[in-house]
Point group: C2
Chain length 480, copies 2
Amino acid sequence: MQQLHRASRFNRRAIKVEQATKLVLESVAPGQQEMVPLWKAGGRRLAESLCATSDWPPFARSGMDGYAVRSEDTLQASPDSPVKLRVLNPVTAGGIAAGGVELGSAIRIMTGGVVPCGADAVVMLEQTTDVLLDGLAAVQVKQAALPGQHIAQPGEEFRLGSLLAQSGTLIRPGHAALLGTFGYARVPVFTKPRIAVIATGSELIPVTAQLGAGLIRDSNSGMVAAMIEQSGGIPLQLGCKVDQVEAIVAALVEALDQADIVITTGGVSVGDHDVMAAVMRSIRNHDHDQSEIEASAKPKTVGDHSTVSLPSENLHSSVKEMADPFQSNYEHSTKVLQASLDPSTRLLFDKVAMRPGSPTSAALVNGKLLVALSGNPGACFVGLELFVRPVLLRLQGVSMEEAMPRTVTAILDADWDKGSPHERFVRTRLYTADSILHADPLAFNKSSMLASIPDADGLIRIPAGPRGAAKGEIVEVLLL
Amino acid sequence: MQQLHRASRFNRRAIKVEQATKLVLESVAPGQQEMVPLWKAGGRRLAESLCATSDWPPFARSGMDGYAVRSEDTLQASPDSPVKLRVLNPVTAGGIAAGGVELGSAIRIMTGGVVPCGADAVVMLEQTTDVLLDGLAAVQVKQAALPGQHIAQPGEEFRLGSLLAQSGTLIRPGHAALLGTFGYARVPVFTKPRIAVIATGSELIPVTAQLGAGLIRDSNSGMVAAMIEQSGGIPLQLGCKVDQVEAIVAALVEALDQADIVITTGGVSVGDHDVMAAVMRSIRNHDHDQSEIEASAKPKTVGDHSTVSLPSENLHSSVKEMADPFQSNYEHSTKVLQASLDPSTRLLFDKVAMRPGSPTSAALVNGKLLVALSGNPGACFVGLELFVRPVLLRLQGVSMEEAMPRTVTAILDADWDKGSPHERFVRTRLYTADSILHADPLAFNKSSMLASIPDADGLIRIPAGPRGAAKGEIVEVLLL
């Protein structure tokens, strides 16, 4: 009986990482759009597919500075027997020759200029010499020009209406050139999603505060906010909350009101004061009938830690003191929370088959996604990359498939001899040597450790199993 | 004689790409610094090296939820013969046990909690069972705890004063966690450099304008501006200017006044109307004595295009008409420009041994860097990556070495059978298969072509030579 409960503490069943990522992705949809100046659109995502507004090039363009010629006139040209072509200088209107290239003649042309009618090739200036022919300006050509030489034909790169970039595309500097060419001075992009960030933990103090005994600074909120900014979202930082369900529920209600999605850190594990675990349990129970809620909300076996770890009457009274305030808060606050939940509310998962961060949880609450990340910085970071960044991309119009974390394969540079019942994500540096990609796991890789987070280029995915992975093996790496 | 001039048109001698990049890097220095909130500092560069303000962890922290124990008390524990430890519940102040773990006892502890004195190990909650011992609360442990188990020792990750991140570091989300942990709520970063952008070309119209015969939209300004934004700078877009030295000189004077560095596009080649080439020649001549200026500013041989391509009196009068307004502008405007140049002004280079973009030029003008990029979008893009991005990084405190373009090696996926007297940069997609990095050159790779610019992950460096590079070869690729 205890073993059974131990295996299903809080009835939390681990789901696969891909499944968890898909569940969060399916619970959001691309947001609104807005118009922004093209050159300010870098890093945003296109909200519509954009097409060519003309052929490109729009006219036959010279690729070189030189002379526009008729290739047939140069057929016999050679260094020993150069061909002389009379230089015409027709009337020009707006830089365009009104006349064309006639038999035995040439017209001076600049790079990017309109190739005059009659001409079918351009000879580079450097390959010509100016001469006189019957006392008039002429040019000497020493080599046969090939038809089409140094001319970009109209529509060679794009036909009117052809796709330039599809909805969801990340706008890069090259898009400014491409879209600008076709007159897109302003472009439709998805609005920046608004993401509420709440840190939980009675041991937390703001980054600005002085350390005291047993206290640590809330470093997760800043990391989450920075990642949201980096991924094109707007973080709404709601600060750090003590481990009281009441405080958390109030913060969640505010957050759900203001934001498109809500991220919390901490309190997801099996500890007595793990408030987000309690909130998730409350959400899970929302769909159940009331008797089930009562049954599951109370401890099943005295002292069995694999069920709800609330102390029973016959435990030492001081232990009871420690947990009781939480219990009474819990009962009151979960009623408040449950009363405000609409019928669509449901738990997505409360355990993921991964290390670190297995207690990472997610729910759909009143139509909005709530992701509860682990409070350990390493686990929080992994959860961010696996479940939050993809959601941010999806909210900005990226397809489900492309929103999934990008992966590469690499050679593992060092043994990772730590097995795990769940697959493990190991922070790593990436580099190439002789075209081979290598993953060099970073030191300080424990869930609680910070040092390797800023330096990581990727997360090595070590498959579940007793043996880990050996140096020289090909491993999958999520790119950061 | 003609061959000699042909080889040294405008006396432009090509220098190696690395040398050119070093020259521009040496002509700038890291800028001012400012304080910004940590979570808003993502993508900026640290302006000072920051160190740990305490040991980390600051106290012995539990890595697990469970019981703090003395490992020696558990030495004999086994599943068949579990050890019972009395659960103490000492007075707590701010969540910290005021008492310690005594012989044969344990204290409940949460993840991240302070390990009470006396304890040297933490046993996971899941590996314990609550029991009674003489009618009082106790916990049963079935396995010997190892000394130090699940405890992060003070200073394990960082010692007070140890380096967290050095000046010039790109701030990533992980830095928000790391620096926030040590109380850096605001961090010193380099100010965003201000970069003026001027497009030259009489054929250019703003992106907002309708196409007309022979006209194209200025797509380069937007691309340059977007790249500056992407690299942490502030672009000052001064618009597109016609090919008149006077107009360009006026724009340059304004730009040098407002910006940290100035970027122009177009007009760098050998064409009659290539104004930036004329400006660079004027700058080059600035240091020469006046007789040298006169000599080099005038055409040497009638009709020899490999010298200065200004028409002489005995060429056809209509050819003269085309070039003369430029010539008179040139003489006047270069005097204006030269009069405003301080003694430090000097040409850095006016030709680079590369394709595309060999006429790319740079000068130090009144102490500020002027980079003149090619107007062809493909060449402009390559010039941006090779000479502008490194400078932007350097202005933001990145070391000379790290500001150089990052390269990897990859297997070339397709023959590139086009030889070149200069090394060539080919836009490519990058991907890995079985841990091997592949470079798959993109179609539409000509200098004048746009289509492959947004899609490029890198630039393959094809060595100079007649043969190009073959499928399957290892090539060097600059990362974009």
